[in-house]
């Protein structure tokens, strides 16, 4: 049987929040054995939730922080927080207390059998524990280490803490998105930088593995999440580079001045207050698509011949948007979607998250699969790998992992720990499936 692309590669995962865990998840999807190294005495902020023992009142909080399986915190809430559970598939988890020398000795034994160390903590975090590239290399000469700090491992911002939303602010994205007549204070926090750093971290690791196969050399990779996110703003950087011009934010309008291009109302069962307002996005990218749209609308009187060319549509943009919105508002979003696509017009409903499971394409692609997690919290649908490989389909080999779920495997099979030593390490708290009671 053909192995998965990264079968035989072992990755130790010291990642936090989203950017790093997404990257190691992609490596896991592709067949690497990814082992999360966790510490029962340390709750990594915003990684398995915000608190090991959340305030019971937090189930009243809005989504996503206040959403728990069946509206109960359950026995080990850190294993199934909404915000993080979907990046823990295809990973194993082991625990050890790296603040103690014995924990570091155990880690060294694991490093000796691993190919990649992947982390995205603040620059100073792992070195404080003694985990540096030089230390790893002293254990295994050809080790690959990927570090993905927010702004890089050098320079004035080296130790600035950040989530995706902050580095997008620094890189310029926050000022460039949102409606032109809205203040930046009305922007919704988003995390596209996490997407970029996650994918490109996985890419960088595979490039390093490629290089190692050719040369035998390992290496240290540094991925500054801020710098890596630059591609998102390609057009703004280019306009600055070639015209010295500052790009303005323009809401949903096409960067390339296609008209019409926007989000239009559909018949709705309710309002935004309950998440029941319905919208369709429509993009007319060519004159042919305009003709198709005009045809789908039944050639309304306002769709005069001057609109058959882009310049004519640009001249009457506001009017087109008004007329189009009045037309779309008569229809159910899915009905209009299929009707426009059949006519050859790019369009789709703006899907509120609760509706994704009902969509025919998403169902046909099998993007979500029912899984049972640790502790019998109930059977729910989780994401599965989204890249489709023809010869070795990427599957969910491991549902979102519980902390410490693979302690027996790692300690006994990989490290050769016998039953007595295992019991001792458990008694000393290295091996656990619960956070220490001292952890808030």
């Amino acid at each position: 049987m053909t192995p998965l692309p990264l079968e035989g590669v072992r990755v130790l995962d010291f990642c936090v929040v989203w950017a790093g865990p997404f990257g190691t998840m992609l490596l896991g999807d592709l067949g690497a054995e990814v082992i999360k190294v966790e510490n029962p005495f340390v709750m990594q902020p915003m990684t398995r939730g915000t608190r090991a023992h959340p305030d019971p009142a937090s189930i009243q909080a809005p989504a996503p922080a206040g959403a728990w399986p069946g509206n109960e915190l359950g026995p080990r809430p850190w294993n199934y927080t909404t915000t993080f559970v979907n990046v823990y598939r295809n990973k194993k988890s082991v625990t050890m207390d790296l603040r103690r020398p014995e924990g570091m000795e155990l880690l060294a034994r694991l490093v000796a059998q691993s190919d990649v160390i992947y982390e995205n903590n603040a620059s100073e975090t792992l070195p404080k524990l003694g985990i540096t590239y030089d230390w790893l290399r002293s254990i295994r000469e050809d080790i690959i280490m990927l570090r993905a700090p927010a702004y890089g491992s050098s320079g004035a911002y080296e130790n600035a803490r950040a989530l995706g939303v902050h580095l997008e602010s620094v890189m310029g994205h926050t000022l460039l998105r949102g409606f032109a007549d809205h203040a930046p204070t009305e922007t919704t926090p988003i995390y596209s930088g996490d997407y970029m750093a996650g994918t490109q971290g996985a890419l960088a690791v595979m490039m390093a593995l490629w290089h190692r196969r050719r040369t035998g050399e390992g290496q240290l990779i540094e991925l500054s999440q801020a710098e890596n996110a630059a591609g998102i703003l390609a057009q703004a950087f280019m306009d600055h580079a070639i015209n010295g011009r500052a790009t303005e934010r323009r809401g949903n309008d096409s960067y390339y001045d296609a008209v019409p291009y926007g989000v239009y109302p559909c018949r709705s069962p309710g309002t935004a207050e309950t998440g029941d307002d319905r919208w369709i996005s429509i993009s007319v990218l060519s004159d042919d698509q305009w003709s198709a749209l005009a045809g789908a609308m039944g050639e309304p009187v306002w769709a005069t011949p001057d609109l058959e060319e882009l310049a004519g549509r640009q001249a009457r943009r506001d009017e087109i948007d008004r007329e189009l919105a009045a037309w779309t508002a008569q229809f159910d979003d899915y009905e209009l979607f299929h009707r426009l696509q059949a006519a050859g017009v790019p369009a789709a409903p703006v899907l509120e998250a609760s509706r994704v499971h009902d969509d025919a394409q998403i169902q046909a692609r099998g993007l979500f699969q029912h899984q049972d997690l640790w502790d019998d919290i109930g059977r729910y649908r989780y994401l599965s790998p989204f890249l489709r490989f023809s010869e070795t389909p990427l599957t969910v080999r491991q549902p979102p992992v519980a902390m410490g779920e693979h302690n027996e495997y790692v300690y006994k099979q990989l490290l050769g720990v016998d039953d007595d030593e295992y019991a001792r390490l458990e008694a000393e708290g290295h091996i656990a499936m619960d956070f220490d009671p001292s952890v808030p």
């Binding site: 979907n86 460039l176 204070t185 596209s192 950087f237 309950t274 789709a348 509120e352 609760s354």
Partner: protein
């Protein structure tokens, strides 16, 4: 067999990629491979990749050689202009596939099959070669042939519904951000497929759906989907930053983004330089930040402090106190910023039509296989003759392909 590292220009030196992608997402994926040293042959229509018609243009004068979008997404590639509808196209493609380690394409689903050069042919001819197909909704399913755009894909697959304010329609990200994200995922697919071919001798056809890659990606969508699945709770528009210390705040000379400052009051007190502020027991109570009066008091204190300081002053204090914060910079401010300059973030190239172009360079820094530096994007058909010669055509055959308008050459 170990090779001399000195001979390798980038981690992917020696890797040959046949690139049949166009617009944004596919080209971004192959740009990442090309910038890392792969020899990427970009096959364009005779009129060029449609993205050559997209701005920003130098001096706002549209020209296929001055498109900023084309430039950014096509650095370090070589260009072959080939009319895919010409009767000679399948033969030319066949010869190019013979020399490739990987094919990446974003043509209409089924287009390469029509030309007799689809996956079945590639797999039969070159079992170790992979093909990555980047399409809007995937190569299977009822929406296979549906059309899309940045807006359409992000609205459907990404978490656009909850962006913006409840009184208005949802609003998207900047430019083509979602397509760039998805292109980045396609690069992962490409590298995984290359690895499969090289390591296991098995070429793979990878079906990369831009919609799937938005649904399965990492921005807020997965968490909002899970909230409903677990607890029937929806992510409402405009609900992201109400009432707590997670928001964009005005300051003396612009704006700063702060996140969750109420979660570590000790750090916030440190940042504000007033340990006595917020020291009262009320603030430690569970649910304090759901109480509108307390939230109001908190916001007044915080906004008053922020408005007296510049964004850089706020950020410096936040860094010192380890508070999550980022100033809202413009691209021009970023361009002048010393941290990024000193780190070598920018790369300058000279381009025949655009002149000097300074844009973000390496996506990451590799210690042992350093980034070779991006080359300028190619002119249309700039490399047609070289590429055909390498594919085994002699000079007279090449001129005939050009004369019959199968191939364009600059």
């Amino acid at each position: 067999m170990p090779e001399s590292t000195a001979e390798l220009k980038g981690p992917l030196a020696g890797v040959a990629v046949l690139d049949l992608t166009q617009y944004i997402a596919g080209p971004y994926a192959t740009k990442l491979l090309a910038d890392a040293g792969a020899d990427v042959i970009k096959v364009e229509q005779l009129q060029g990749d449609p993205s050559r018609r997209l701005g920003p243009f130098k001096d706002d004068r549209p020209d296929r050689e001055t498109s900023g979008s084309f430039y950014y997404f096509n650095t370090s590639k070589r260009s072959l202009a080939l009319d895919l509808s010409h009767q000679m196209a399948p033969e030319v493609l066949g010869r190019l596939i013979d020399r490739a380690d990987l094919v990446v394409e974003s043509l209409r689903p089924g287009r390469l099959d029509e030309l007799g050069r689809g996956w079945a042919w590639v797999h039969q001819q070159r079992p170790e070669v992979s093909m990555v197909s980047v399409t809007n909704f995937g190569l299977t399913g009822p929406y296979r042939d549906y059309l899309a755009s940045e807006l359409v894909l992000f609205g459907f697959g990404g978490e656009m519904y909850s962006m913006g304010t409840p009184d208005r329609e949802p609003v998207r990200m900047f430019g083509t951000a979602a397509l760039v994200e998805s292109g980045s995922a396609a690069a992962v697919a490409a590298m995984g497929a290359l690895t499969s071919g090289a390591l296991h001798g098995v070429g793979q056809h990878v079906d990369v759906s831009l919609a799937d890659s938005q649904l399965g990606g990492i921005d807020r969508r997965h968490a909002w989907i899970m909230s409903y699945e677990y607890a029937g709770k929806k992510g409402l528009r405009g609900s992201g930053s109400v009432g707590t210390g997670s928001a964009v705040y005005p300051c003396a000379d612009g704006y700063v983004e702060l996140t969750g400052v109420q979660l570590r009051l000790d750090r916030l007190q440190d940042m504000l330089g007033h340990p006595e502020w917020l020291d009262d027991a009320r603030w430690g109570q569970p649910g304090a930040f759901f109480d509108p009066d307390l939230v109001g008091e908190f916001q007044a204190l915080l906004t008053g402090w922020l408005i007296e300081r510049t964004k850089r002053e706020v950020w410096a204090e936040a860094q010192r106190a380890r508070v999550l914060c980022g100033p809202l910079f413009t691209v021009a401010e970023l361009f002048a910023d010393e941290h990024f300059r000193e780190r070598g973030f920018w790369q300058r190239n000279d381009h025949a039509a655009l002149g000097s172009v300074e844009i973000p360079g390496r996506p990451f820094v590799m210690g042992a296989s350093p980034w070779p530096g991006a080359r300028s994007a190619p002119l249309l058909g700039e490399d047609s003759r070289d590429v055909l010669r390498e594919a085994g055509y002699d000079a007279s055959e090449i001129e005939r392909l050009i004369a019959t308008r199968a191939v364009g050459a600059s």
